[in-house]
Point group: C2
Chain length 223, copies 2
């Protein structure tokens, strides 16, 4: 992890203005931090001392169960908060946050800002929207995972993550995210290839039948 200082810090603060999230000035104690790919922004079980706001990059939220299984709860993207659960709740089991790409974020020390943040309607309004989206998203994922087989959820995931018609996510990560075994993921991927929805191209998969995948994914949506 690197903390930007001087000119570099100023540049990021100017490029990603966040003054409109708060009704007071946050520049004084704010840090601009860079985490490398695979670095842990927050370690599971260790309460952070900062509220983070991601301005560039992508990260993953992990939790480890007692049986050793690991779940990738969700992704974190630009403009998401990290550490807001700990800001709000004294009792909270802290999840692990790992950078998926180089990630740059603002870090506001609880020490200096907690009290003011919790009294700032502007910030709290932002945060309620963020949290309501999070809750809604988790509820949707939860019910979908119970109501539909992998086939549908994987189709949706492929369409969401494919870049220019090419799907190339790491299998291990996808298993953690969709909560299925490595073996089963390969099963269903090869089914997709057999049906010619996808075509294997080295380690990547090329989408051949957008329409078919879309039909599978559409079923996830509520009426």
């Amino acid at each position: 992890m690197e903390i930007y200082k001087g000119e570099k810090k100023r540049w990021y603060l100017e490029k990603h203005p966040i003054a409109h999230h708060f009704s007071f000035r946050v520049e004084e104690f704010i840090e601009v931090r860079e985490y490398q790919r695979d670095e842990w922004i927050i370690q599971e079980g260790m309460r952070p001392d900062f509220l983070f706001y991601v301005i560039e990059g992508k990260a993953k939220i992990y939790v480890t169960h007692q049986n050793g299984k690991v779940s990738l709860i969700n992704f974190i993207n630009e403009n998401d908060y990290i550490g807001e659960m700990e800001l709000l709740n004294d009792e909270y089991y802290t999840k692990g946050i790992q950078a998926l790409t180089k990630t740059i974020c603002f870090a506001l020390p609880f020490l200096h800002y907690r009290k003011r943040l919790l009294e700032d309607a502007k910030f709290l309004r932002e945060l309620t929207k963020f949290l309501s989206g999070k809750a809604t998203h988790m509820a949707a994922k939860y019910t979908q995972s119970l109501a539909f087989p992998l086939e549908n959820r994987l189709a949706d995931f492929i369409l969401q993550t494919a870049d220019e018609g090419i799907y190339k996510e790491k299998h291990v990560m996808v298993c953690d995210y969709l909560g299925i075994s490595y073996r089963h993921l390969l099963h269903v991927l090869s089914q997709f290839c057999e049906k010619n929805y996808l075509q294997k191209d080295g380690r990547n998969f090329r989408i051949k039948q957008y329409q078919s995948l879309n039909e599978l994914a559409e079923v996830l949506k509520s009426k």
Copy 2:
């Protein structure tokens, strides 16, 4: 649905003071409403015009998928909000809310309060806590449902809902809640009886081995 007026209304407002949730007076346009068991407080897909706050009773949040499957997303209890998603988000697919017991709640019309609520730090702070709890809870349920078989989740549910050692939830509701088929629920319940964790007593189940169920449920918790 019945709207309380006069003395009855005043009595509930006094018995369940909520002034401390807001920094302005909400009495003027507030309604006190009673819904009977099984009545729909909000119909799926129909945006409500009120923010509800439950003061007595218990309700269920439902969503219907395109394949006709119904998911019981979660329960709503006393001191929970309903309609907060619609208060915050203009775009939101409204879930159905059905009373599980006679339910009494306060109803604040968006028309009169929306603007002030969204500027009230006291209320927003309450709401962020409520929403963070909701998001955390859904995330936990999601990962647990993927990481553990029904056996564990059912043991947890039985312990949570049993009253004086007797479990007597309706099977159909439990299926919707745990996202499993009726048939499979009966399978696992009868396994519990075979192992003597439970003893069937007419339509109810008596907990015989608290300890064993507890071990199954404990596994759900994160490290």
